[in-house]
């Protein structure tokens, strides 16, 4: 009898249940997709080599479970609130709490099971989508592999069970604690005012803790090399967390009070209506809003750190090889290398490989260029000598030259800007690590004499240096005519291919070319050196799929989960408000407020709901970026890369957030007009 009644009620509040089902299904899907990724072959293979990685995954899944569990608990509470009046009426009619609890339990188990089944499909889709996105971000070749393993399914099921038991126990306690009055009037209790004093103190304390947290955070990255940095680091995180909650709880009231104090603001337009509604919201769900703010902060931090790491990783690869393939033609006029390099065998192999590349992946553009030396006599190498004199530790062999036209073509292949040189100028491009020493050299130290003419260094830079251009740490770019009397040190072919180079193509190419070992004699002794005959970008990328990648990967994943949770909760909240507000808007309408004005008010309200939890997080994200930059400064591609990373993260965050906002706003308006 009761279940029949309750079923009818469920039917009537189908829309609320839809929100509930969607949330739970999405939550489960997130967990399941995470497990699918975590247990996928790629990652498990990786984790064999890295013990730490296992712990990282474990840690991440703990966070995910915790956050998603919270989301489910929140939704459950939300449904409970929706039906409080119904339950209250049952109790008023004399139905026992135990029975109501049983009803609620059965209902949730039923709905939960449906959600679990659905989430296996959606979760699989998610994991494919997520992997594709993330792999794409990290430029990894990704093939959609739909391998269903039993492990992730079992693990996910365990998680679900765990979360559900916890959540159901909580709602049981909730029902036990309720009395009829609370149930009947739950909706009406919307004001839990903090006293003025508490509020001010909370505000002041939270702000100063926030400031202190940011300072500590900065300090932690100042001493980033030392192991003790963990202490200020975790302390700063703790302080920031507390301050986020404190500010969220107090600022709504603060705003309200400010508005109420100033009649000019208070009685203007819809200010009063909006601030009141808003402060009521903060009053009832301050903790939830605080958690949302915390999650937003974490999302932004994760995205930011991940973007910086990604940049560092990309920079590492780009410095090494920005072209798809670089092949060494092994051709030299200097004779510095042993004569057997220029053997016919290799030339044949080179030719074959080249044809193979053309056939297999197509050649979009290529450039064969020479690297020159003035003479085999190292005494002629002015720059090398100067460098060796400032830096006693390293000896530099010979100065290497490249034609301006070749250099510009190489730059053009990378979509980088070309340079121009006057007749008596040259351009110096060097590897970042040499910066200190090059900066010690004076302008006239850098003058180079070629063909009896003195060339001045027009400019020198370490920006975008590519180490696969040649085998040295710096390169002198000279106008074309100057190389006429020089000797060719080496000939190199830089290739950009038409198609993407997959792992299998890499294998095949490697087999084709093989390794070239040459014997070189230094001081009368013979050394065997393996020469890089071919460098393939795809291979370097794959090899560098190191801890950094995994780390960024986890962070990106966490960020996506967090923002999904934040967006979902805000949507649920706002949409559930829509029903409550419908009544309020009706009153406004009855009092003669135009439809358009009401729409404006709605927009303001939804915007406020969405903006409020992210203002402080955005502030934190911006400030912490400067601290984080201390860590990334040396490995990032450019001086201001951290600002790009920050911009990118904020953009991505706002993009996803914006989608949630839009969907919510549309839903809200639809609800109003129903």
């Amino acid at each position: 009898m009761l279940s029949k009644l309750s079923l009818r009620n469920v039917k009537r509040s189908l829309k609320d249940y839809l929100i509930y089902m969607v949330t739970i299904t999405l939550s489960f899907s997130l967990i399941f997709s995470f497990n699918l990724i975590a247990f996928s072959r790629d990652l498990t293979e990786l984790s064999e080599h890295m013990e730490n990685f296992k712990y990282a995954i474990l840690f991440v899944s703990m966070i995910v479970i915790f956050v998603v569990g919270w989301l489910i608990n929140y939704t459950m509470h939300f449904m409970f609130e929706k039906r409080s009046k119904e339950f209250g009426t049952y109790m008023l009619l004399g139905i026992k709490k135990k029975e109501i609890n049983k009803l609620f339990l059965l209902e949730n188990i039923f709905l939960g099971s449906i959600a679990v089944v659905l989430s296996f499909f959606i979760g699989t889709l998610f994991s494919i989508l997520l992997s594709a996105i993330i792999m794409n971000i990290f430029e990894m070749p990704y093939q959609i592999a739909l391998s269903i393993h039993i492990t992730p399914i079992l693990v996910s099921l365990t998680y679900f069970l765990f979360i559900y038991i916890f959540v159901l126990l909580r709602s049981k306690r909730r029902i036990k604690k309720m009395n009829i009055y609370d149930l009947l009037y739950l909706e009406k209790q919307n004001e839990q005012k903090m006293s003025k004093k508490t509020r001010s103190w909370t505000f002041i304390l939270a702000s100063s803790l926030g400031g202190l947290g940011l300072l500590l955070f900065d300090y932690a990255f100042k001493i980033v090399e030392e192991p003790t940095m963990m202490i200020p680091f975790f302390l700063s995180i703790l302080l920031l967390g507390i301050s986020i909650y404190g500010l969220t709880l107090s600022i709504g009231e603060f705003l309200l009070n400010y508005c109420l104090k100033h009649e000019k603001i208070k009685y203007k337009k819809d200010n009063l209506f909006i601030t009141r509604n808003f402060s009521a919201k903060v009053g009832t769900m301050g903790i939830t809003l605080g958690t949302l703010a915390l999650l937003s902060t974490l999302t932004l931090l994760c995205l930011n750190v991940s973007a910086s790491f990604k940049d560092a990783f990309e920079n590492q690869v780009n410095t090494r090889i920005p072209y798809d393939i670089v092949m060494n033609k092994i051709y030299s006029e200097t004779g510095a290398l042993h004569p057997n390099i220029q053997n016919k065998d290799y030339q044949k192999k080179y030719q074959e490989s080249h044809e193979y590349i053309e056939k297999r992946v197509g050649i979009k553009e290529e450039l064969i260029y020479n690297i020159y030396v003035k003479s085999v006599n190292i005494d002629d190498a002015v720059i090398a000598k100067k460098l060796s004199s400032v830096n006693g530790k390293l000896t530099f062999q010979n100065d290497l030259f490249i034609k301006l036209s070749d250099y510009n073509k190489l730059q053009k292949m990378l979509n980088r800007s070309e340079i121009t040189l006057n007749e008596n100028e040259y351009f110096l491009h060097y590897y970042k690590e040499l910066r200190n020493w090059f900066e010690q050299l004076k302008k006239e130290d850098l003058n180079v004499e070629i063909n009896g003419k003195t060339l001045h260094c027009k400019e020198m830079t370490d920006k975008n240096y590519v180490s696969s251009w040649n085998s040295s740490y710096y390169l002198l770019v000279v106008p074309d005519e100057y190389v006429n009397n020089m000797l060719i040190e080496n000939a190199i072919n830089a290739i950009n291919t038409e198609k993407e180079i997959t792992t299998s193509v890499v294998e095949e190419l490697k087999n084709k070319v093989g390794n070239l070992e040459i014997t070189s004699s230094i001081n009368g002794e013979d050394y065997t050196i393996a020469i890089d005959t071919m460098i393939i970008r795809a291979e370097v990328l794959a090899q560098n799929r190191s801890a950094i990648t995994i780390f960024s990967f986890s962070l990106t994943y966490l960020a996506l989960v967090f923002i999904a949770v934040v967006g979902t909760i805000l949507s649920i909240q706002t949409l559930s408000d829509a029903t409550k507000y419908k009544y309020r808007y009706d009153i406004l309408k009855k009092l003669g407020v135009r439809e358009k004005e009401i729409d404006k008010t709605i927009l303001k309200q939804v915007t406020m709901n969405f903006i409020f939890p992210i203002v402080y997080p955005l502030l934190i994200a911006v400030i912490t970026t400067f601290s984080l930059n201390r860590l990334f400064f040396n490995i990032s591609s450019e001086e201001h890369t951290y600002l790009y990373s920050l911009g990118n993260s904020i953009f991505l965050f706002l993009l996803i957030y914006g989608i949630y906002f839009l969907a919510t706003y549309i839903g809200f308006k639809k609800n109003k007009s129903e």
Binding site: K188, Y267, L272, F273, K590, V593
Partner: protein, 255 residues
């Protein structure tokens, strides 16, 4: 001059297929400027429906309603909003207070909506609240005050604008006799001194006796109508009771 004129008004509830309730079944009526009219009738006789049609928050099935010479059945949505805001004041049967606003702010709401200069708002609120004896609960929220106090708040909100036509649905329904008298006297005063026209639905003959004219509704039609004229209130009160007895039984029994 008449401020309100109703011509053969009909309002039917229910869709074509289901049972139709003829909540109002052909009412014609004129209310002059500065009149204070009571509408009485059994529960379900169509009083609220009539008021809702007059207050433009519900559409009519057929007929015309002219307020201040304007046919409100032909106004567009936005025009209706403007019309309500500028000309009408309501006191709803279920108060319609915003639970997030304090009593004070609820009262100020119609001033805010009318874009009154914020400087004048506070004094206006205090003045009307004082008259209705709710000055001491201004800082409270609706769920913290009694039903009667809520009702007086709703009245204050309707009166504060000095609207041309005030429509009140059982404004004294939840009040004790002292508060009811306070409210009625305020309304009477507004009617006398501020030239407000008032149309009030009531169950209670005492309240009705404050009016100048009483209309009796039955099954969606006007059943009877009496004028106070120059007779004292006590006499008018008895007259009303007579009509009610004639209509059949004590009104409260019908509920």
């Amino acid at each position: 001059m008449e401020i309100l004129k109703i011509e053969d008004l009909k309002k039917y509830y229910g869709k074509k297929s289901s049972i139709i309730t003829k909540a109002i079944n052909g009412i014609s009526l004129e209310v002059q400027n500065q009149e204070f009219v009571a509408i009485m009738g059994a529960s379900g006789s169509g009083k609220t429906t009539l008021l809702n049609c007059l207050s433009t928050i519900d559409t009519v099935t057929s007929g015309h309603i002219y307020i201040d010479g304007q046919d409100i059945t032909e106004l567009e949505n936005d025009e209706l909003s403007d019309f309500r805001r500028e000309k009408l004041g309501f006191i709803f049967q279920d108060f319609n207070l915003l639970d997030t606003l304090t009593i004070e702010e609820n009262i100020a709401l119609s001033l805010i909506i009318n874009k009154t200069d914020p400087k004048f708002v506070n004094n206006a609120v205090k003045d009307i609240a004082g008259r209705l004896d709710i000055a001491n609960i201004l800082k409270k929220f609706p769920y913290e005050v009694s039903g009667g106090q809520k009702q007086r708040c709703a009245c204050a909100r309707a009166l504060i604008n000095h609207p041309k036509l005030i429509l009140a649905d059982e404004p004294t329904g939840a009040l004790d006799s002292r508060s009811a008298r306070l409210l009625l006297e305020t309304m009477w005063e507004m009617n006398e001194n501020l030239n407000a026209t008032i149309l009030m639905v009531t169950h209670d003959a005492f309240s009705a006796s404050f009016c100048k004219r009483v209309l009796f509704l039955k099954d969606g039609k006007i059943f009877n109508e009496i004028q106070k004229g120059d007779s004292p209130r006590k006499e008018f009160f008895e007259e009303i009771l007579d009509v009610l007895t004639l209509m059949g039984g004590d009104l409260n029994d019908v509920k």
